[in-house]
Symmetry: C2
DNA sequence: CGCCTTCTTGAAGGATCTCAAGAAGGGTGG
DNA sequence: CCACCCTTCTTGAGATCCTTCAAGAAGGCG
Protein backbone atom coordinates (compact mmCIF):
# COMPACT_ATOMS: atom_id res chain seq x y z
CA UNK A 1 0.00 0.00 0.00
CA UNK A 2 1.08 3.49 -0.78
CA UNK A 3 0.24 6.83 0.61
CA UNK A 4 -0.24 9.23 -2.23
CA UNK A 5 -1.00 12.91 -2.12
CA UNK A 6 -3.40 14.35 -4.59
CA UNK A 7 -6.52 16.31 -5.19
CA UNK A 8 -9.85 14.59 -4.65
CA UNK A 9 -12.94 15.42 -6.69
CA UNK A 10 -16.50 14.31 -7.01
CA UNK A 11 -17.63 13.50 -10.55
CA UNK A 12 -21.23 13.48 -11.72
CA UNK A 13 -22.67 10.62 -13.75
CA UNK A 14 -21.92 10.71 -17.46
CA UNK A 15 -19.36 13.44 -17.09
CA UNK A 16 -16.03 13.19 -18.87
CA UNK A 17 -13.23 14.17 -16.52
CA UNK A 18 -10.45 13.35 -18.96
CA UNK A 19 -11.12 14.15 -22.60
CA UNK A 20 -9.66 12.87 -25.83
CA UNK A 21 -6.57 14.90 -26.62
CA UNK A 22 -6.05 16.30 -23.13
CA UNK A 23 -2.49 16.61 -22.00
CA UNK A 24 -2.63 15.27 -18.48
CA UNK A 25 -0.23 15.73 -15.56
CA UNK A 26 -2.09 13.42 -13.20
CA UNK A 27 -3.28 9.87 -13.02
CA UNK A 28 -6.74 9.27 -11.62
CA UNK A 29 -7.21 6.92 -8.71
CA UNK A 30 -10.81 5.80 -8.37
CA UNK A 31 -11.99 6.13 -4.77
CA UNK A 32 -15.65 5.32 -5.32
CA UNK A 33 -17.99 4.71 -8.21
CA UNK A 34 -17.45 3.19 -11.64
CA UNK A 35 -15.50 4.78 -14.45
CA UNK A 36 -15.30 3.93 -18.14
CA UNK A 37 -12.36 4.41 -20.44
CA UNK A 38 -13.54 5.35 -23.92
CA UNK A 39 -11.92 5.15 -27.29
CA UNK A 40 -13.70 6.19 -30.42
CA UNK A 41 -13.53 5.90 -34.18
CA UNK A 42 -13.58 8.80 -36.62
CA UNK A 43 -17.37 8.82 -36.85
CA UNK A 44 -17.45 9.48 -33.14
CA UNK A 45 -18.83 6.05 -32.27
CA UNK A 46 -17.64 5.44 -28.76
CA UNK A 47 -16.43 2.17 -27.39
CA UNK A 48 -15.65 1.50 -23.75
CA UNK A 49 -12.28 -0.24 -23.62
CA UNK A 50 -11.99 -0.65 -19.86
CA UNK A 51 -14.17 -0.40 -16.80
CA UNK A 52 -12.48 0.87 -13.67
CA UNK A 53 -13.50 0.06 -10.12
CA UNK A 54 -12.55 1.60 -6.78
CA UNK A 55 -8.86 1.08 -6.10
CA UNK A 56 -7.90 1.21 -9.78
CA UNK A 57 -5.57 3.74 -11.28
CA UNK A 58 -7.69 4.48 -14.33
CA UNK A 59 -4.97 6.06 -16.42
CA UNK A 60 -1.74 4.95 -14.88
CA UNK A 61 -0.39 4.67 -18.41
CA UNK A 62 -0.64 8.43 -18.78
CA UNK A 63 2.59 8.62 -16.77
CA UNK A 64 4.44 7.36 -19.83
CA UNK A 65 2.03 8.82 -22.41
CA UNK A 66 0.57 12.13 -21.24
CA UNK A 67 -1.37 12.84 -24.44
CA UNK A 68 -4.69 11.18 -23.82
CA UNK A 69 -5.88 9.08 -26.76
CA UNK A 70 -8.81 8.07 -24.58
CA UNK A 71 -11.49 9.67 -22.47
CA UNK A 72 -12.51 8.89 -18.90
CA UNK A 73 -16.16 9.15 -17.97
CA UNK A 74 -18.00 8.46 -14.75
CA UNK A 75 -20.50 5.64 -15.36
CA UNK A 76 -21.98 6.29 -11.93
CA UNK A 77 -21.33 9.14 -9.53
CA UNK A 78 -17.67 8.79 -8.67
CA UNK A 79 -14.95 10.19 -6.48
CA UNK A 80 -11.45 10.31 -7.81
CA UNK A 81 -8.07 11.40 -6.58
CA UNK A 82 -5.76 13.07 -9.06
CA UNK A 83 -2.21 11.97 -8.32
CA UNK A 84 0.57 14.01 -9.97
CA UNK A 85 2.78 12.09 -12.35
CA UNK A 86 5.78 13.64 -10.62
CA UNK A 87 4.83 11.88 -7.38
CA UNK A 88 4.45 8.55 -9.12
CA UNK A 89 7.75 8.91 -10.93
CA UNK A 90 9.54 9.93 -7.76
CA UNK A 91 8.16 6.97 -5.84
CA UNK A 92 8.99 4.58 -8.67
CA UNK A 93 12.55 5.92 -8.76
CA UNK A 94 12.89 5.34 -5.04
CA UNK A 95 11.46 1.84 -4.89
CA UNK A 96 12.29 -0.55 -7.74
CA UNK A 97 9.67 -2.99 -6.50
CA UNK A 98 7.09 -0.27 -7.00
CA UNK A 99 8.38 0.45 -10.48
CA UNK A 100 7.86 -3.19 -11.32
CA UNK A 101 4.40 -3.17 -9.76
CA UNK A 102 3.45 -0.22 -11.96
CA UNK A 103 4.73 -2.02 -15.00
CA UNK A 104 2.82 -5.13 -13.95
CA UNK A 105 -0.34 -3.13 -13.53
CA UNK A 106 -0.04 -1.86 -17.09
CA UNK A 107 0.55 -5.44 -18.21
CA UNK A 108 -2.64 -6.64 -16.50
CA UNK A 109 -4.43 -3.81 -18.26
CA UNK A 110 -3.07 -5.12 -21.56
CA UNK A 111 -4.03 -8.71 -20.72
CA UNK A 112 -7.54 -7.54 -19.92
CA UNK A 113 -7.72 -5.67 -23.21
CA UNK A 114 -6.62 -8.80 -25.05
CA UNK A 115 -9.51 -10.61 -23.39
CA UNK A 116 -11.85 -7.86 -24.55
CA UNK A 117 -10.65 -8.34 -28.12
CA UNK A 118 -11.53 -12.03 -27.84
CA UNK A 119 -14.80 -11.14 -26.15
CA UNK A 120 -15.95 -8.72 -28.79
CA UNK A 121 -14.46 -10.72 -31.64
CA UNK A 122 -15.32 -14.32 -30.88
CA UNK A 123 -18.24 -14.54 -28.49
CA UNK A 124 -21.94 -14.10 -29.15
CA UNK A 125 -24.02 -11.62 -27.20
CA UNK A 126 -24.89 -13.98 -24.34
CA UNK A 127 -21.33 -15.07 -23.67
CA UNK A 128 -20.02 -11.59 -24.24
CA UNK A 129 -22.22 -9.99 -21.61
CA UNK A 130 -21.71 -12.85 -19.18
CA UNK A 131 -17.94 -12.64 -19.59
CA UNK A 132 -17.88 -8.94 -18.83
CA UNK A 133 -20.02 -9.41 -15.73
CA UNK A 134 -17.73 -12.23 -14.61
CA UNK A 135 -14.72 -9.99 -14.99
CA UNK A 136 -16.32 -7.29 -12.87
CA UNK A 137 -17.51 -9.69 -10.19
CA UNK A 138 -14.04 -11.20 -9.95
CA UNK A 139 -12.28 -7.86 -9.78
CA UNK A 140 -14.69 -6.75 -7.08
CA UNK A 141 -13.64 -9.82 -5.12
CA UNK A 142 -17.18 -11.12 -5.04
CA UNK A 143 -16.59 -14.36 -6.89
CA UNK A 144 -14.45 -16.73 -4.90
CA UNK A 145 -15.75 -20.14 -5.73
CA UNK A 146 -19.04 -19.52 -4.01
CA UNK A 147 -22.24 -20.61 -5.63
CA UNK A 148 -24.11 -17.35 -5.29
CA UNK A 149 -22.77 -13.91 -6.08
CA UNK A 150 -24.28 -10.52 -5.33
CA UNK A 151 -22.77 -7.24 -6.40
CA UNK A 152 -23.58 -3.56 -6.69
CA UNK A 153 -23.34 -2.58 -10.31
CA UNK A 154 -24.85 0.87 -10.83
CA UNK A 155 -24.54 0.93 -14.62
CA UNK A 156 -27.27 0.87 -17.24
CA UNK A 157 -27.88 -1.22 -20.31
CA UNK A 158 -26.61 1.44 -22.70
CA UNK A 159 -23.27 1.52 -20.94
CA UNK A 160 -23.16 -2.25 -21.03
CA UNK A 161 -23.78 -1.99 -24.77
CA UNK A 162 -20.91 0.44 -25.18
CA UNK A 163 -18.58 -2.00 -23.44
CA UNK A 164 -19.68 -5.09 -25.34
CA UNK A 165 -20.00 -3.50 -28.79
CA UNK A 166 -23.68 -4.33 -29.00
CA UNK A 167 -26.75 -2.12 -29.34
CA UNK A 168 -28.73 -1.26 -26.21
CA UNK A 169 -31.72 -3.04 -27.73
CA UNK A 170 -29.83 -6.26 -28.16
CA UNK A 171 -28.30 -6.03 -24.70
CA UNK A 172 -31.81 -5.76 -23.36
CA UNK A 173 -33.05 -8.83 -25.19
CA UNK A 174 -29.96 -10.80 -24.22
CA UNK A 175 -30.33 -9.92 -20.54
CA UNK A 176 -33.92 -11.08 -20.74
CA UNK A 177 -32.75 -14.36 -22.14
CA UNK A 178 -30.15 -14.78 -19.38
CA UNK A 179 -32.81 -13.87 -16.82
CA UNK A 180 -35.36 -16.32 -18.13
CA UNK A 181 -32.73 -19.05 -17.95
CA UNK A 182 -32.29 -18.24 -14.27
CA UNK A 183 -28.70 -17.17 -14.80
CA UNK A 184 -29.02 -13.73 -13.27
CA UNK A 185 -31.33 -11.09 -11.88
CA UNK A 186 -30.52 -7.41 -11.91
CA UNK A 187 -32.61 -4.79 -10.17
CA UNK A 188 -31.87 -1.28 -9.02
CA UNK A 189 -28.19 -1.65 -9.71
CA UNK A 190 -27.84 -4.89 -7.78
CA UNK A 191 -26.76 -7.90 -9.80
CA UNK A 192 -27.48 -11.36 -8.46
CA UNK A 193 -25.91 -14.48 -9.93
CA UNK A 194 -27.42 -17.55 -8.28
CA UNK A 195 -25.03 -20.11 -9.75
CA UNK A 196 -21.55 -18.72 -10.30
CA UNK A 197 -20.09 -21.84 -11.85
CA UNK A 198 -22.83 -22.11 -14.44
CA UNK A 199 -22.68 -18.41 -15.19
CA UNK A 200 -18.90 -18.44 -15.62
CA UNK A 201 -19.27 -21.30 -18.05
CA UNK A 202 -21.86 -19.40 -20.10
CA UNK A 203 -19.43 -16.49 -20.12
CA UNK A 204 -16.54 -18.73 -21.10
CA UNK A 205 -14.66 -17.14 -18.24
CA UNK A 206 -11.24 -18.08 -16.89
CA UNK A 207 -9.98 -15.55 -14.31
CA UNK A 208 -6.32 -16.39 -14.78
CA UNK A 209 -5.44 -13.26 -16.72
CA UNK A 210 -6.51 -10.96 -13.91
CA UNK A 211 -3.77 -12.32 -11.65
CA UNK A 212 -6.00 -12.04 -8.62
CA UNK A 213 -3.91 -14.76 -7.03
CA UNK A 214 -0.82 -12.55 -7.09
CA UNK A 215 0.79 -12.20 -3.69
CA UNK A 216 -0.41 -9.01 -2.00
CA UNK A 217 3.04 -7.43 -1.84
CA UNK A 218 3.40 -7.78 -5.58
CA UNK A 219 0.05 -6.28 -6.44
CA UNK A 220 -0.69 -2.66 -6.68
CA UNK A 221 -2.87 -1.21 -3.96
CA UNK A 222 -3.47 2.42 -3.23
CA UNK A 223 -4.41 4.32 -0.16
CA UNK A 224 -5.39 7.93 0.02
CA UNK A 225 -3.07 10.42 1.68
CA UNK A 226 -4.59 11.85 4.82
CA UNK B 1 19.73 0.45 -28.50
CA UNK B 2 20.65 -2.47 -26.34
CA UNK B 3 22.90 -5.40 -26.75
CA UNK B 4 21.17 -8.45 -25.46
CA UNK B 5 22.44 -11.98 -25.21
CA UNK B 6 20.15 -14.84 -25.98
CA UNK B 7 19.49 -17.90 -28.01
CA UNK B 8 18.42 -17.50 -31.63
CA UNK B 9 16.10 -19.91 -33.37
CA UNK B 10 14.41 -20.36 -36.70
CA UNK B 11 10.67 -21.00 -36.57
CA UNK B 12 8.64 -22.63 -39.32
CA UNK B 13 5.40 -21.15 -40.57
CA UNK B 14 2.35 -21.93 -38.47
CA UNK B 15 4.40 -23.30 -35.62
CA UNK B 16 3.63 -22.27 -32.04
CA UNK B 17 6.83 -21.47 -30.20
CA UNK B 18 5.13 -20.35 -27.02
CA UNK B 19 2.02 -22.26 -26.02
CA UNK B 20 -0.91 -21.41 -23.82
CA UNK B 21 -0.03 -22.26 -20.24
CA UNK B 22 3.74 -22.38 -20.76
CA UNK B 23 5.82 -21.01 -17.94
CA UNK B 24 8.40 -18.96 -19.77
CA UNK B 25 11.80 -17.68 -18.64
CA UNK B 26 12.52 -15.73 -21.80
CA UNK B 27 11.03 -12.97 -23.85
CA UNK B 28 11.11 -13.38 -27.60
CA UNK B 29 12.67 -10.72 -29.75
CA UNK B 30 11.58 -11.00 -33.38
CA UNK B 31 14.57 -10.80 -35.71
CA UNK B 32 12.79 -11.60 -38.96
CA UNK B 33 9.35 -12.70 -40.07
CA UNK B 34 5.90 -12.04 -38.69
CA UNK B 35 4.54 -13.43 -35.46
CA UNK B 36 0.99 -13.57 -34.10
CA UNK B 37 -0.07 -13.50 -30.48
CA UNK B 38 -3.12 -15.70 -29.97
CA UNK B 39 -5.73 -15.79 -27.28
CA UNK B 40 -8.61 -18.22 -27.37
CA UNK B 41 -11.98 -18.88 -25.86
CA UNK B 42 -13.06 -22.10 -24.22
CA UNK B 43 -14.29 -23.60 -27.49
CA UNK B 44 -10.78 -23.25 -28.81
CA UNK B 45 -11.68 -20.49 -31.25
CA UNK B 46 -8.47 -18.59 -31.73
CA UNK B 47 -8.16 -14.86 -32.03
CA UNK B 48 -4.97 -13.02 -32.91
CA UNK B 49 -4.59 -10.18 -30.42
CA UNK B 50 -1.34 -8.72 -31.71
CA UNK B 51 0.87 -8.96 -34.75
CA UNK B 52 4.58 -8.63 -34.11
CA UNK B 53 7.14 -7.38 -36.59
CA UNK B 54 10.95 -7.52 -36.63
CA UNK B 55 12.35 -5.49 -33.73
CA UNK B 56 9.39 -6.19 -31.45
CA UNK B 57 9.64 -7.96 -28.15
CA UNK B 58 6.65 -10.19 -28.67
CA UNK B 59 6.11 -11.12 -25.05
CA UNK B 60 7.95 -8.52 -23.07
CA UNK B 61 5.09 -8.67 -20.60
CA UNK B 62 6.10 -12.23 -19.67
CA UNK B 63 8.83 -10.64 -17.54
CA UNK B 64 6.15 -9.63 -15.06
CA UNK B 65 3.76 -12.53 -15.83
CA UNK B 66 5.63 -15.70 -16.70
CA UNK B 67 2.53 -17.90 -17.00
CA UNK B 68 1.55 -17.50 -20.62
CA UNK B 69 -2.15 -16.86 -21.11
CA UNK B 70 -1.41 -16.50 -24.80
CA UNK B 71 0.36 -18.39 -27.57
CA UNK B 72 2.94 -17.14 -30.04
CA UNK B 73 2.88 -18.49 -33.56
CA UNK B 74 4.98 -17.75 -36.62
CA UNK B 75 2.70 -16.33 -39.32
CA UNK B 76 5.56 -16.58 -41.78
CA UNK B 77 8.93 -18.23 -41.38
CA UNK B 78 10.58 -16.32 -38.55
CA UNK B 79 13.78 -15.97 -36.63
CA UNK B 80 13.58 -15.10 -32.97
CA UNK B 81 16.00 -14.48 -30.15
CA UNK B 82 15.06 -15.74 -26.73
CA UNK B 83 16.27 -13.23 -24.15
CA UNK B 84 16.34 -14.43 -20.52
CA UNK B 85 14.11 -12.50 -18.15
CA UNK B 86 17.02 -12.30 -15.75
CA UNK B 87 18.98 -10.23 -18.28
CA UNK B 88 16.09 -7.88 -18.83
CA UNK B 89 15.51 -7.42 -15.13
CA UNK B 90 19.18 -6.82 -14.49
CA UNK B 91 19.41 -4.21 -17.23
CA UNK B 92 16.23 -2.51 -16.03
CA UNK B 93 17.61 -2.36 -12.50
CA UNK B 94 20.77 -0.75 -13.76
CA UNK B 95 19.20 1.86 -16.00
CA UNK B 96 16.00 3.55 -14.78
CA UNK B 97 15.47 5.05 -18.23
CA UNK B 98 15.36 1.54 -19.63
CA UNK B 99 12.90 0.46 -16.95
CA UNK B 100 10.65 3.29 -18.05
CA UNK B 101 11.10 2.36 -21.70
CA UNK B 102 10.00 -1.19 -20.92
CA UNK B 103 6.98 0.10 -19.09
CA UNK B 104 6.22 2.41 -22.03
CA UNK B 105 6.48 -0.45 -24.46
CA UNK B 106 3.89 -2.40 -22.50
CA UNK B 107 1.72 0.71 -22.48
CA UNK B 108 1.91 1.01 -26.28
CA UNK B 109 0.94 -2.63 -26.46
CA UNK B 110 -2.10 -1.82 -24.32
CA UNK B 111 -2.97 1.23 -26.43
CA UNK B 112 -2.79 -0.91 -29.55
CA UNK B 113 -5.03 -3.52 -27.96
CA UNK B 114 -7.54 -0.80 -27.10
CA UNK B 115 -7.55 0.16 -30.78
CA UNK B 116 -8.16 -3.47 -31.68
CA UNK B 117 -11.18 -3.52 -29.38
CA UNK B 118 -12.54 -0.50 -31.23
CA UNK B 119 -11.62 -2.08 -34.54
CA UNK B 120 -13.37 -5.36 -33.90
CA UNK B 121 -16.24 -3.74 -32.02
CA UNK B 122 -17.14 -0.68 -34.02
CA UNK B 123 -15.89 -0.96 -37.59
CA UNK B 124 -17.32 -2.91 -40.48
CA UNK B 125 -15.23 -5.39 -42.42
CA UNK B 126 -13.81 -2.86 -44.90
CA UNK B 127 -12.65 -0.38 -42.30
CA UNK B 128 -11.50 -3.14 -40.01
CA UNK B 129 -9.17 -4.70 -42.54
CA UNK B 130 -7.93 -1.34 -43.77
CA UNK B 131 -7.21 -0.23 -40.22
CA UNK B 132 -5.13 -3.29 -39.48
CA UNK B 133 -3.15 -2.86 -42.69
CA UNK B 134 -2.59 0.80 -41.83
CA UNK B 135 -1.26 -0.16 -38.44
CA UNK B 136 1.20 -2.62 -39.95
CA UNK B 137 2.34 -0.21 -42.68
CA UNK B 138 2.93 2.47 -40.09
CA UNK B 139 4.82 0.22 -37.72
CA UNK B 140 6.97 -0.98 -40.59
CA UNK B 141 7.85 2.67 -41.21
CA UNK B 142 6.47 2.50 -44.72
CA UNK B 143 3.77 5.11 -44.35
CA UNK B 144 5.24 8.54 -43.85
CA UNK B 145 2.89 10.88 -45.57
CA UNK B 146 3.73 9.53 -49.00
CA UNK B 147 1.02 8.89 -51.48
CA UNK B 148 2.03 5.38 -52.41
CA UNK B 149 2.99 2.62 -50.01
CA UNK B 150 4.48 -0.78 -50.77
CA UNK B 151 5.19 -3.41 -48.15
CA UNK B 152 6.09 -7.06 -47.79
CA UNK B 153 3.33 -8.78 -45.93
CA UNK B 154 3.74 -12.54 -46.16
CA UNK B 155 0.49 -13.47 -44.44
CA UNK B 156 -2.62 -15.11 -45.86
CA UNK B 157 -6.28 -14.29 -45.77
CA UNK B 158 -7.05 -16.81 -43.03
CA UNK B 159 -4.56 -15.16 -40.72
CA UNK B 160 -6.01 -11.79 -41.57
CA UNK B 161 -9.39 -13.23 -40.63
CA UNK B 162 -8.06 -14.43 -37.29
CA UNK B 163 -6.81 -10.93 -36.53
CA UNK B 164 -9.95 -9.08 -37.59
CA UNK B 165 -12.49 -11.52 -36.13
CA UNK B 166 -13.99 -12.21 -39.54
CA UNK B 167 -14.26 -15.42 -41.54
CA UNK B 168 -11.74 -16.11 -44.29
CA UNK B 169 -14.59 -16.04 -46.81
CA UNK B 170 -15.66 -12.58 -45.79
CA UNK B 171 -12.09 -11.29 -45.71
CA UNK B 172 -11.75 -12.51 -49.27
CA UNK B 173 -14.87 -10.71 -50.46
CA UNK B 174 -13.90 -7.56 -48.61
CA UNK B 175 -10.42 -7.53 -50.14
CA UNK B 176 -12.01 -7.88 -53.55
CA UNK B 177 -14.15 -4.88 -52.82
CA UNK B 178 -11.15 -2.83 -51.69
CA UNK B 179 -9.29 -3.98 -54.78
CA UNK B 180 -12.05 -3.09 -57.17
CA UNK B 181 -12.19 0.37 -55.62
CA UNK B 182 -8.51 0.76 -56.44
CA UNK B 183 -7.58 1.02 -52.77
CA UNK B 184 -5.03 -1.76 -52.76
CA UNK B 185 -3.46 -4.61 -54.64
CA UNK B 186 -1.89 -7.58 -52.97
CA UNK B 187 0.07 -10.25 -54.80
CA UNK B 188 2.59 -12.80 -53.64
CA UNK B 189 2.87 -11.26 -50.20
CA UNK B 190 3.46 -7.75 -51.49
CA UNK B 191 0.84 -5.19 -50.55
CA UNK B 192 0.52 -2.06 -52.62
CA UNK B 193 -1.50 0.93 -51.46
CA UNK B 194 -1.61 3.53 -54.24
CA UNK B 195 -3.22 6.31 -52.22
CA UNK B 196 -2.23 6.23 -48.57
CA UNK B 197 -4.37 9.17 -47.51
CA UNK B 198 -7.52 7.71 -48.99
CA UNK B 199 -6.75 4.27 -47.61
CA UNK B 200 -6.11 5.61 -44.11
CA UNK B 201 -9.44 7.39 -44.25
CA UNK B 202 -11.25 4.20 -45.27
CA UNK B 203 -9.52 2.50 -42.33
CA UNK B 204 -10.44 5.32 -39.99
CA UNK B 205 -6.80 5.35 -39.00
CA UNK B 206 -5.03 7.82 -36.74
CA UNK B 207 -1.45 6.73 -35.95
CA UNK B 208 -1.20 8.73 -32.75
CA UNK B 209 -1.54 5.77 -30.41
CA UNK B 210 1.54 4.06 -31.82
CA UNK B 211 3.78 6.90 -30.60
CA UNK B 212 5.95 6.60 -33.68
CA UNK B 213 6.90 10.23 -33.14
CA UNK B 214 8.50 9.43 -29.81
CA UNK B 215 12.09 10.61 -29.59
CA UNK B 216 14.43 7.75 -30.47
CA UNK B 217 16.13 7.69 -27.08
CA UNK B 218 12.79 7.17 -25.38
CA UNK B 219 11.69 4.35 -27.62
CA UNK B 220 12.61 0.78 -27.25
CA UNK B 221 14.96 -0.62 -29.87
CA UNK B 222 16.81 -3.87 -29.70
CA UNK B 223 20.02 -5.08 -31.23
CA UNK B 224 21.29 -8.58 -31.21
CA UNK B 225 24.36 -9.48 -29.20
CA UNK B 226 27.25 -10.45 -31.41
C1' DC C 1 -48.44 14.53 -10.18
C1' DG C 2 -45.47 15.10 -13.93
C1' DC C 3 -41.16 14.60 -16.11
C1' DC C 4 -37.11 12.34 -17.66
C1' DT C 5 -34.37 8.42 -17.91
C1' DT C 6 -34.24 3.64 -18.65
C1' DC C 7 -36.26 -0.46 -20.02
C1' DT C 8 -39.08 -3.10 -23.22
C1' DT C 9 -41.34 -4.62 -27.54
C1' DG C 10 -42.21 -5.24 -32.70
C1' DA C 11 -40.97 -5.68 -37.36
C1' DA C 12 -38.04 -5.25 -41.22
C1' DG C 13 -33.40 -4.97 -43.10
C1' DG C 14 -28.53 -5.95 -43.52
C1' DA C 15 -23.82 -7.53 -42.55
C1' DT C 16 -21.59 -11.47 -41.84
C1' DC C 17 -21.50 -16.61 -41.32
C1' DT C 18 -21.86 -21.43 -42.79
C1' DC C 19 -21.44 -25.01 -45.86
C1' DA C 20 -19.87 -26.68 -50.03
C1' DA C 21 -17.23 -26.89 -54.01
C1' DG C 22 -14.46 -25.31 -57.76
C1' DA C 23 -10.26 -22.48 -59.64
C1' DA C 24 -5.75 -20.74 -59.27
C1' DG C 25 -1.03 -20.71 -57.75
C1' DG C 26 3.46 -22.49 -56.33
C1' DG C 27 6.42 -26.29 -55.34
C1' DT C 28 8.14 -31.02 -56.09
C1' DG C 29 9.29 -35.27 -58.23
C1' DG C 30 9.46 -37.94 -62.20
C1' DC D 1 9.24 -29.73 -68.70
C1' DC D 2 5.19 -31.75 -67.48
C1' DA D 3 2.08 -33.92 -64.02
C1' DC D 4 0.56 -33.85 -59.63
C1' DC D 5 -0.47 -32.12 -55.12
C1' DC D 6 -1.44 -29.11 -51.53
C1' DT D 7 -2.34 -24.69 -50.02
C1' DT D 8 -4.76 -20.56 -50.81
C1' DC D 9 -8.06 -17.99 -53.11
C1' DT D 10 -12.69 -17.53 -55.05
C1' DT D 11 -17.69 -18.12 -55.77
C1' DG D 12 -22.70 -19.26 -54.68
C1' DA D 13 -26.74 -19.62 -51.92
C1' DG D 14 -29.17 -19.90 -47.79
C1' DA D 15 -29.27 -19.06 -42.75
C1' DT D 16 -28.63 -16.18 -38.62
C1' DC D 17 -27.42 -12.90 -35.44
C1' DC D 18 -27.65 -8.41 -34.64
C1' DT D 19 -29.07 -3.69 -36.05
C1' DT D 20 -32.21 0.01 -37.07
C1' DC D 21 -36.14 2.64 -36.43
C1' DA D 22 -40.04 3.70 -33.91
C1' DA D 23 -42.92 3.85 -30.09
C1' DG D 24 -44.90 2.55 -25.78
C1' DA D 25 -44.34 1.07 -20.62
C1' DA D 26 -42.10 1.31 -16.35
C1' DG D 27 -39.44 3.37 -12.76
C1' DG D 28 -37.35 7.00 -9.96
C1' DC D 29 -37.22 11.78 -8.39
C1' DG D 30 -38.57 16.58 -7.52
Amino acid sequence: MLNLPGQASQIQVNRDFVRLGDRVQHSCLIIAGIVGRYDQNAEGKRQITAIHLPGDMADLHSVVQPNASWALQALSTATILRVPHSEIRAAAGMYPALAEALWRDTMIDAATLAQWVVNVGRRDARARIAHLLCELATRLGKAQGEHSVVLDLPINQSQLAEATALTPVHVNRTLQSLRSDGLLSWQRGVLHIPDWVRFASVGDFDPLYLQMDMKPEKRLGFAQAS
